[in-house]
Amino acid sequence: MTVSHAHTHLADAVPSQEVRFTLNGAPQKLSVRPFRRLLDVLRTDLDLPGTKEGCGEGECGACSVLIDGEPINACLVPVIQCEGTTIVTVEGLAGHDALHPVQQAFMQHGGAQCGICTPGMVVTAAWMRDQKLGPEAIREKLAGNICRCTGYSAIVNSVAAALGTPDGTPDSTPDGAAPGGSDA
Protein backbone atom coordinates (compact mmCIF):
# COMPACT_ATOMS: atom_id res chain seq x y z
CA MET A 1 0.00 0.00 0.00
CA THR A 2 2.23 2.77 -1.25
CA VAL A 3 0.67 6.19 -1.02
CA SER A 4 3.73 8.24 -1.75
CA HIS A 5 4.29 9.98 -5.05
CA ALA A 6 7.56 8.41 -6.02
CA HIS A 7 7.22 9.20 -9.72
CA THR A 8 10.05 11.40 -10.90
CA HIS A 9 9.66 14.03 -13.56
CA LEU A 10 13.29 14.40 -14.52
CA ALA A 11 12.69 17.86 -15.92
CA ASP A 12 11.55 19.01 -12.47
CA ALA A 13 14.21 17.23 -10.47
CA VAL A 14 16.59 19.29 -8.35
CA PRO A 15 20.32 18.51 -8.25
CA SER A 16 21.56 15.72 -6.03
CA GLN A 17 23.40 16.57 -2.85
CA GLU A 18 25.93 14.61 -0.87
CA VAL A 19 24.70 13.08 2.39
CA ARG A 20 26.90 11.09 4.77
CA PHE A 21 25.75 8.94 7.66
CA THR A 22 26.53 5.70 9.42
CA LEU A 23 24.17 2.88 8.46
CA ASN A 24 24.13 -0.38 10.39
CA GLY A 25 27.70 0.27 11.50
CA ALA A 26 29.16 1.18 8.11
CA PRO A 27 29.83 4.66 6.70
CA GLN A 28 27.64 5.71 3.79
CA LYS A 29 28.18 8.51 1.30
CA LEU A 30 25.26 9.11 -1.04
CA SER A 31 24.51 11.52 -3.82
CA VAL A 32 20.74 11.98 -3.52
CA ARG A 33 17.98 14.49 -4.07
CA PRO A 34 17.62 16.11 -0.67
CA PHE A 35 13.91 15.79 -0.05
CA ARG A 36 13.62 12.10 -0.92
CA ARG A 37 12.37 10.09 2.02
CA LEU A 38 14.83 8.04 4.03
CA LEU A 39 12.37 5.16 3.58
CA ASP A 40 12.74 5.23 -0.21
CA VAL A 41 16.51 5.68 -0.08
CA LEU A 42 16.84 2.65 2.21
CA ARG A 43 14.59 0.41 0.16
CA THR A 44 15.51 1.54 -3.35
CA ASP A 45 19.05 2.92 -3.31
CA LEU A 46 20.54 0.88 -0.48
CA ASP A 47 18.77 -2.43 -1.10
CA LEU A 48 17.44 -2.67 2.46
CA PRO A 49 13.78 -3.62 1.99
CA GLY A 50 13.28 -4.74 5.58
CA THR A 51 11.89 -1.31 6.45
CA LYS A 52 8.27 -1.32 5.25
CA GLU A 53 5.84 1.34 4.13
CA GLY A 54 2.38 1.21 5.67
CA CYS A 55 0.57 4.51 5.87
CA GLY A 56 3.11 7.07 4.66
CA GLU A 57 1.99 9.57 7.27
CA GLY A 58 3.77 8.59 10.48
CA GLU A 59 0.81 6.76 11.98
CA CYS A 60 1.59 3.06 11.64
CA GLY A 61 5.28 2.67 12.48
CA ALA A 62 6.01 0.02 9.83
CA CYS A 63 8.95 2.16 8.67
CA SER A 64 10.48 2.57 12.14
CA VAL A 65 14.28 2.81 12.18
CA LEU A 66 16.66 4.16 14.80
CA ILE A 67 18.30 7.52 14.16
CA ASP A 68 20.90 8.41 16.78
CA GLY A 69 19.38 5.78 19.03
CA GLU A 70 15.73 6.92 18.86
CA PRO A 71 12.93 5.22 16.92
CA ILE A 72 11.55 7.42 14.13
CA ASN A 73 9.32 6.98 11.10
CA ALA A 74 11.52 6.80 7.98
CA CYS A 75 8.57 7.96 5.85
CA LEU A 76 8.77 11.37 7.56
CA VAL A 77 12.49 12.00 7.18
CA PRO A 78 13.89 13.84 4.15
CA VAL A 79 17.22 12.15 3.53
CA ILE A 80 19.16 15.40 3.87
CA GLN A 81 18.29 15.37 7.58
CA CYS A 82 20.32 12.16 7.93
CA GLU A 83 23.59 14.06 7.46
CA GLY A 84 25.99 13.11 10.24
CA THR A 85 23.57 10.72 11.95
CA THR A 86 23.82 7.07 12.93
CA ILE A 87 21.02 4.92 11.54
CA VAL A 88 20.10 1.35 12.40
CA THR A 89 17.50 -0.55 10.39
CA VAL A 90 15.99 -3.94 11.16
CA GLU A 91 18.74 -5.46 9.01
CA GLY A 92 21.32 -4.07 11.42
CA LEU A 93 19.96 -5.59 14.62
CA ALA A 94 21.06 -9.21 14.30
CA GLY A 95 24.67 -10.26 14.74
CA HIS A 96 26.45 -12.44 12.17
CA ASP A 97 25.61 -15.65 13.97
CA ALA A 98 22.63 -14.83 16.17
CA LEU A 99 19.35 -13.01 15.91
CA HIS A 100 18.74 -10.02 18.16
CA PRO A 101 16.99 -11.07 21.41
CA VAL A 102 13.83 -9.25 20.26
CA GLN A 103 13.84 -11.23 17.01
CA GLN A 104 14.32 -14.45 18.97
CA ALA A 105 11.41 -13.55 21.21
CA PHE A 106 9.13 -12.78 18.25
CA MET A 107 9.92 -16.22 16.81
CA GLN A 108 9.40 -17.96 20.10
CA HIS A 109 6.12 -16.24 20.96
CA GLY A 110 4.55 -16.06 17.50
CA GLY A 111 4.85 -12.27 17.32
CA ALA A 112 4.74 -12.09 13.51
CA GLN A 113 1.79 -12.86 11.27
CA CYS A 114 1.69 -11.17 7.86
CA GLY A 115 5.03 -9.54 8.65
CA ILE A 116 4.51 -6.00 7.38
CA CYS A 117 4.45 -4.38 10.82
CA THR A 118 7.04 -6.73 12.28
CA PRO A 119 10.28 -4.93 11.33
CA GLY A 120 8.99 -1.70 12.86
CA MET A 121 7.77 -3.53 15.96
CA VAL A 122 11.16 -5.21 16.33
CA VAL A 123 13.06 -1.94 15.92
CA THR A 124 10.90 -0.13 18.49
CA ALA A 125 11.14 -3.07 20.90
CA ALA A 126 14.93 -3.15 20.47
CA TRP A 127 14.99 0.53 21.45
CA MET A 128 12.84 -0.25 24.50
CA ARG A 129 15.35 -2.94 25.45
CA ASP A 130 18.24 -0.47 24.99
CA GLN A 131 16.39 1.93 27.29
CA LYS A 132 15.92 -0.85 29.84
CA LEU A 133 12.18 -0.20 29.90
CA GLY A 134 10.00 -2.70 31.71
CA PRO A 135 7.07 -4.70 30.30
CA GLU A 136 4.63 -2.19 31.84
CA ALA A 137 5.80 0.37 29.25
CA ILE A 138 5.03 -1.80 26.22
CA ARG A 139 1.51 -0.66 25.37
CA GLU A 140 2.40 3.02 25.59
CA LYS A 141 5.78 2.91 23.88
CA LEU A 142 4.56 0.59 21.13
CA ALA A 143 1.43 2.68 20.45
CA GLY A 144 2.98 4.03 17.26
CA ASN A 145 3.38 0.56 15.77
CA ILE A 146 0.08 -0.70 14.42
CA CYS A 147 -0.69 -4.31 13.51
CA ARG A 148 -3.78 -5.36 11.59
CA CYS A 149 -3.40 -9.12 12.05
CA THR A 150 -2.58 -10.31 15.50
CA GLY A 151 -4.70 -8.43 17.99
CA TYR A 152 -1.43 -7.53 19.72
CA SER A 153 -1.32 -10.16 22.46
CA ALA A 154 1.34 -12.23 20.73
CA ILE A 155 3.35 -9.07 20.00
CA VAL A 156 3.11 -7.80 23.57
CA ASN A 157 4.09 -11.24 24.84
CA SER A 158 7.09 -11.30 22.51
CA VAL A 159 8.28 -7.86 23.57
CA ALA A 160 7.70 -8.64 27.25
CA ALA A 161 9.84 -11.74 26.88
CA ALA A 162 12.58 -9.69 25.21
CA LEU A 163 12.46 -6.99 27.90
CA GLY A 164 12.38 -9.43 30.77
CA THR A 165 15.79 -10.84 30.03
CA PRO A 166 18.45 -8.21 30.61
CA ASP A 167 21.23 -10.74 30.06
CA GLY A 168 20.13 -11.21 26.47
CA THR A 169 18.90 -14.75 26.86
CA PRO A 170 15.43 -15.07 25.35
CA ASP A 171 12.83 -15.80 27.97
CA SER A 172 11.29 -19.25 27.74
CA THR A 173 8.14 -18.24 29.61
CA PRO A 174 5.07 -19.66 27.86
CA ASP A 175 2.76 -17.24 26.05
CA GLY A 176 0.47 -15.29 28.32
CA ALA A 177 2.58 -15.80 31.39
CA ALA A 178 5.01 -13.05 30.53
CA PRO A 179 4.69 -9.97 32.74
CA GLY A 180 2.19 -7.51 31.32
CA GLY A 181 1.64 -9.81 28.42
CA SER A 182 -1.92 -10.89 28.90
CA ASP A 183 -4.87 -9.19 27.31
CA ALA A 184 -7.37 -11.30 29.18
Partner: protein, 293 residues
Protein backbone atom coordinates in the same frame (compact mmCIF):
# COMPACT_ATOMS: atom_id res chain seq x y z
CA UNK B 1 -2.37 21.42 -9.35
CA UNK B 2 -0.46 18.19 -9.71
CA UNK B 3 1.50 16.84 -6.78
CA UNK B 4 5.05 18.01 -6.31
CA UNK B 5 7.39 15.01 -6.42
CA UNK B 6 9.87 14.63 -3.60
CA UNK B 7 12.67 14.69 -6.16
CA UNK B 8 11.56 18.15 -7.31
CA UNK B 9 11.93 19.81 -3.93
CA UNK B 10 15.04 21.88 -3.24
CA UNK B 11 16.49 21.97 0.26
CA UNK B 12 19.37 23.98 1.63
CA UNK B 13 21.08 22.87 4.82
CA UNK B 14 22.98 25.71 6.51
CA UNK B 15 25.22 24.81 9.43
CA UNK B 16 25.16 28.23 11.16
CA UNK B 17 22.18 30.32 12.25
CA UNK B 18 23.68 33.44 10.64
CA UNK B 19 23.86 31.63 7.30
CA UNK B 20 20.27 30.41 7.68
CA UNK B 21 18.99 33.92 8.39
CA UNK B 22 20.92 35.28 5.40
CA UNK B 23 19.33 32.65 3.15
CA UNK B 24 15.86 33.48 4.48
CA UNK B 25 16.46 37.19 3.89
CA UNK B 26 17.74 36.62 0.37
CA UNK B 27 14.83 34.35 -0.53
CA UNK B 28 12.37 36.89 0.91
CA UNK B 29 13.85 39.68 -1.21
CA UNK B 30 13.58 37.49 -4.30
CA UNK B 31 9.91 36.89 -3.50
CA UNK B 32 10.42 33.13 -3.11
CA UNK B 33 10.32 32.53 0.63
CA UNK B 34 11.83 29.37 2.04
CA UNK B 35 9.82 27.14 4.36
CA UNK B 36 11.73 25.77 7.33
CA UNK B 37 12.13 22.05 8.05
CA UNK B 38 12.53 20.92 11.66
CA UNK B 39 10.97 17.59 12.76
CA UNK B 40 9.07 17.21 9.46
CA UNK B 41 6.19 15.40 11.16
CA UNK B 42 3.72 17.73 9.43
CA UNK B 43 5.57 18.74 6.26
CA UNK B 44 6.31 15.18 5.16
CA UNK B 45 2.70 14.14 5.69
CA UNK B 46 1.70 16.95 3.35
CA UNK B 47 4.36 15.90 0.85
CA UNK B 48 3.54 12.19 0.99
CA UNK B 49 -0.10 12.92 0.24
CA UNK B 50 0.55 15.34 -2.58
CA UNK B 51 -0.47 18.43 -0.61
CA UNK B 52 2.84 20.25 -0.68
CA UNK B 53 2.62 23.88 -1.77
CA UNK B 54 6.31 24.74 -1.46
CA UNK B 55 9.25 23.65 -3.59
CA UNK B 56 12.02 25.34 -1.63
CA UNK B 57 12.92 24.53 1.94
CA UNK B 58 15.59 25.37 4.44
CA UNK B 59 16.52 22.44 6.65
CA UNK B 60 17.42 23.43 10.20
CA UNK B 61 18.92 20.08 11.24
CA UNK B 62 22.44 21.49 10.87
CA UNK B 63 21.72 24.10 13.57
CA UNK B 64 21.25 21.79 16.54
CA UNK B 65 24.18 23.24 18.45
CA UNK B 66 22.58 26.70 18.27
CA UNK B 67 18.85 25.91 18.34
CA UNK B 68 18.58 22.47 19.96
CA UNK B 69 17.72 21.49 23.51
CA UNK B 70 16.22 23.48 26.35
CA UNK B 71 17.53 25.37 29.36
CA UNK B 72 16.30 26.83 32.64
CA UNK B 73 16.79 30.50 33.42
CA UNK B 74 17.55 31.57 37.03
CA UNK B 75 13.93 32.64 37.68
CA UNK B 76 12.57 29.25 36.62
CA UNK B 77 11.68 30.26 33.06
CA UNK B 78 11.97 27.39 30.60
CA UNK B 79 13.69 28.28 27.35
CA UNK B 80 12.88 25.82 24.57
CA UNK B 81 15.20 25.93 21.57
CA UNK B 82 13.60 25.89 18.15
CA UNK B 83 14.85 22.36 17.51
CA UNK B 84 14.01 20.94 20.95
CA UNK B 85 12.02 17.75 20.44
CA UNK B 86 9.21 16.45 22.63
CA UNK B 87 11.33 13.50 23.73
CA UNK B 88 14.21 15.78 24.73
CA UNK B 89 12.01 17.77 27.11
CA UNK B 90 10.23 14.64 28.36
CA UNK B 91 13.64 13.27 29.42
CA UNK B 92 14.03 16.14 31.93
CA UNK B 93 12.29 15.37 35.29
CA UNK B 94 12.25 19.09 36.13
CA UNK B 95 9.98 19.74 33.13
CA UNK B 96 7.38 17.30 34.49
CA UNK B 97 7.48 18.98 37.91
CA UNK B 98 7.40 22.58 36.68
CA UNK B 99 5.10 22.30 33.67
CA UNK B 100 2.97 19.16 33.92
CA UNK B 101 0.48 20.46 31.38
CA UNK B 102 3.26 20.88 28.83
CA UNK B 103 4.78 17.44 29.36
CA UNK B 104 1.32 15.85 29.27
CA UNK B 105 0.72 17.55 25.91
CA UNK B 106 4.15 16.46 24.64
CA UNK B 107 3.49 12.88 25.73
CA UNK B 108 0.16 12.76 23.88
CA UNK B 109 1.08 14.63 20.70
CA UNK B 110 1.91 11.37 18.97
CA UNK B 111 3.59 8.07 19.64
CA UNK B 112 7.24 7.45 20.49
CA UNK B 113 8.40 7.99 16.90
CA UNK B 114 6.66 11.37 16.63
CA UNK B 115 7.85 12.50 20.07
CA UNK B 116 11.43 11.77 18.99
CA UNK B 117 11.15 13.97 15.92
CA UNK B 118 8.53 16.66 16.45
CA UNK B 119 9.49 20.04 17.92
CA UNK B 120 7.62 22.53 20.10
CA UNK B 121 8.51 25.39 17.76
CA UNK B 122 7.29 23.40 14.78
CA UNK B 123 4.01 22.76 16.56
CA UNK B 124 3.64 26.50 17.19
CA UNK B 125 4.53 27.53 13.64
CA UNK B 126 2.37 24.84 12.01
CA UNK B 127 -0.54 26.79 13.51
CA UNK B 128 -3.01 23.94 13.54
CA UNK B 129 -6.20 24.60 15.51
CA UNK B 130 -5.85 20.96 16.65
CA UNK B 131 -2.30 21.38 17.98
CA UNK B 132 -1.39 19.80 21.32
CA UNK B 133 1.74 21.55 22.62
CA UNK B 134 0.89 25.05 21.36
CA UNK B 135 -2.30 25.41 23.46
CA UNK B 136 -0.44 24.34 26.59
CA UNK B 137 2.22 26.94 25.78
CA UNK B 138 -0.48 29.58 25.23
CA UNK B 139 -2.10 28.80 28.58
CA UNK B 140 1.34 29.16 30.16
CA UNK B 141 1.80 32.69 28.68
CA UNK B 142 4.72 31.57 26.51
CA UNK B 143 6.50 34.00 24.22
CA UNK B 144 8.00 33.41 20.77
CA UNK B 145 11.51 34.68 20.02
CA UNK B 146 11.87 35.54 16.35
CA UNK B 147 15.08 36.45 14.62
CA UNK B 148 15.93 37.70 11.15
CA UNK B 149 19.21 38.72 9.57
CA UNK B 150 18.61 42.32 10.67
CA UNK B 151 16.39 42.17 13.74
CA UNK B 152 15.14 40.21 16.71
CA UNK B 153 11.76 40.50 18.43
CA UNK B 154 9.60 38.73 20.94
CA UNK B 155 5.91 38.10 20.32
CA UNK B 156 3.56 36.77 23.00
CA UNK B 157 2.00 33.54 21.79
CA UNK B 158 -1.35 35.16 22.58
CA UNK B 159 -0.69 37.55 19.66
CA UNK B 160 1.01 35.03 17.36
CA UNK B 161 -1.95 33.58 15.47
CA UNK B 162 -3.46 35.98 12.97
CA UNK B 163 -5.95 33.61 11.33
CA UNK B 164 -6.42 30.04 10.18
CA UNK B 165 -2.92 28.54 9.76
CA UNK B 166 -1.46 32.08 9.78
CA UNK B 167 1.13 33.51 12.16
CA UNK B 168 2.81 36.82 12.92
CA UNK B 169 6.17 35.52 11.66
CA UNK B 170 7.55 37.35 8.63
CA UNK B 171 8.94 35.13 5.85
CA UNK B 172 12.51 36.26 6.61
CA UNK B 173 12.18 35.39 10.30
CA UNK B 174 12.84 32.16 12.13
CA UNK B 175 11.59 31.07 15.52
CA UNK B 176 14.80 30.65 17.52
CA UNK B 177 13.26 29.84 20.90
CA UNK B 178 10.12 29.76 23.01
CA UNK B 179 10.12 30.90 26.62
CA UNK B 180 7.71 29.75 29.28
CA UNK B 181 7.55 31.75 32.53
CA UNK B 182 7.19 29.80 35.77
CA UNK B 183 3.66 28.85 36.86
CA UNK B 184 2.46 26.86 39.88
CA UNK B 185 2.08 23.22 38.86
CA UNK B 186 -1.15 22.79 40.83
CA UNK B 187 -3.09 25.24 38.68
CA UNK B 188 -2.29 23.48 35.41
CA UNK B 189 -4.81 21.26 33.63
CA UNK B 190 -4.56 19.57 30.21
CA UNK B 191 -6.95 17.18 28.51
CA UNK B 192 -7.29 16.10 24.92
CA UNK B 193 -10.06 14.01 23.43
CA UNK B 194 -9.37 12.00 20.31
CA UNK B 195 -10.29 8.61 18.98
CA UNK B 196 -7.56 7.14 21.17
CA UNK B 197 -4.85 8.44 23.48
CA UNK B 198 -1.86 8.24 21.11
CA UNK B 199 -1.58 9.01 17.43
CA UNK B 200 -4.98 10.68 17.30
CA UNK B 201 -5.57 14.25 16.23
CA UNK B 202 -7.48 16.22 18.84
CA UNK B 203 -11.28 16.47 18.36
CA UNK B 204 -11.52 18.85 21.27
CA UNK B 205 -9.02 19.84 23.92
CA UNK B 206 -8.49 22.18 26.85
CA UNK B 207 -5.36 23.73 28.35
CA UNK B 208 -6.23 25.63 31.49
CA UNK B 209 -4.62 27.33 34.46
CA UNK B 210 -6.94 28.06 37.34
CA UNK B 211 -5.44 29.95 40.27
CA UNK B 212 -7.27 29.53 43.57
CA UNK B 213 -7.11 31.72 46.67
CA UNK B 214 -9.18 31.23 49.82
CA UNK B 215 -11.56 28.81 48.16
CA UNK B 216 -12.25 30.76 44.98
CA UNK B 217 -10.72 31.04 41.53
CA UNK B 218 -8.92 34.38 41.31
CA UNK B 219 -7.31 34.04 37.88
CA UNK B 220 -7.99 31.85 34.87
CA UNK B 221 -6.44 30.99 31.54
CA UNK B 222 -8.53 28.72 29.35
CA UNK B 223 -7.27 27.76 25.90
CA UNK B 224 -9.51 25.85 23.51
CA UNK B 225 -8.22 23.35 20.95
CA UNK B 226 -10.17 22.39 17.82
CA UNK B 227 -12.92 24.79 18.83
CA UNK B 228 -12.14 27.64 16.39
CA UNK B 229 -9.94 28.48 13.40
CA UNK B 230 -6.96 28.88 15.69
CA UNK B 231 -6.18 27.73 19.18
CA UNK B 232 -7.52 30.56 21.32
CA UNK B 233 -8.20 31.80 24.81
CA UNK B 234 -11.84 31.84 25.87
CA UNK B 235 -11.91 35.23 27.57
CA UNK B 236 -15.61 35.37 28.53
CA UNK B 237 -15.21 31.97 30.10
CA UNK B 238 -12.05 33.10 31.91
CA UNK B 239 -13.97 36.05 33.36
CA UNK B 240 -16.87 33.79 34.36
CA UNK B 241 -14.49 31.46 36.16
CA UNK B 242 -13.19 34.22 38.45
CA UNK B 243 -14.95 33.93 41.78
CA UNK B 244 -16.14 30.38 41.19
CA UNK B 245 -15.89 28.30 44.39
CA UNK B 246 -17.12 24.97 43.03
CA UNK B 247 -19.42 23.41 40.49
CA UNK B 248 -23.18 23.61 41.05
CA UNK B 249 -25.99 23.77 38.50
CA UNK B 250 -26.15 27.55 38.26
CA UNK B 251 -22.37 27.87 37.99
CA UNK B 252 -22.27 25.22 35.31
CA UNK B 253 -24.93 27.04 33.28
CA UNK B 254 -23.15 30.37 33.64
CA UNK B 255 -19.88 28.84 32.50
CA UNK B 256 -21.58 27.25 29.52
CA UNK B 257 -23.16 30.57 28.49
CA UNK B 258 -19.78 32.28 28.73
CA UNK B 259 -18.17 29.49 26.72
CA UNK B 260 -20.80 29.83 24.00
CA UNK B 261 -20.02 33.56 23.77
CA UNK B 262 -16.38 32.67 23.04
CA UNK B 263 -16.52 29.48 21.02
CA UNK B 264 -18.78 28.25 18.25
CA UNK B 265 -17.13 25.04 17.08
CA UNK B 266 -17.93 23.70 13.64
CA UNK B 267 -18.73 20.25 12.26
CA UNK B 268 -15.82 18.86 10.27
CA UNK B 269 -14.21 15.56 9.30
CA UNK B 270 -13.05 14.89 12.84
CA UNK B 271 -16.05 15.73 14.99
CA UNK B 272 -19.27 17.70 15.36
CA UNK B 273 -19.70 21.18 16.78
CA UNK B 274 -22.36 20.22 19.35
CA UNK B 275 -20.23 17.34 20.62
CA UNK B 276 -17.16 19.54 20.86
CA UNK B 277 -19.02 22.23 22.81
CA UNK B 278 -20.53 19.73 25.26
CA UNK B 279 -17.25 17.88 25.86
CA UNK B 280 -15.37 21.15 26.25
CA UNK B 281 -17.88 22.31 28.87
CA UNK B 282 -17.45 19.07 30.81
CA UNK B 283 -13.68 19.45 30.67
CA UNK B 284 -14.01 22.99 32.07
CA UNK B 285 -15.95 21.57 35.02
CA UNK B 286 -13.33 18.84 35.41
CA UNK B 287 -10.59 21.49 35.45
CA UNK B 288 -12.41 23.35 38.25
CA UNK B 289 -12.74 20.17 40.32
CA UNK B 290 -9.19 18.94 39.77
CA UNK B 291 -7.30 22.20 40.35
CA UNK B 292 -9.33 23.13 43.45
CA UNK B 293 -6.80 23.85 46.14
Amino acid sequence: MSAIAHSAVAVTRPTALSAALAQLADAHVRGAPLRALAGCTDVLVEANHGGLKHRSFIDLSGLKSELGGHSWLPDGTLRIGALCTYSALLADPRAHEAFPMLTQAAGLVGATQIQARGTFAGNVENASPAADAAPALLALDAVVHLQSASSARTVPLSQYYTGYRATARRPDELIVALEVPPAPAGEQFFRKVGTRAFQAITKVGISARLRWHEGAIVDARVVATSMAATICRATHLENALRGVRGVDGATSQALRRAQDADLRPIDDVRSQGDYRAEVFHRMVLQAVRETRA
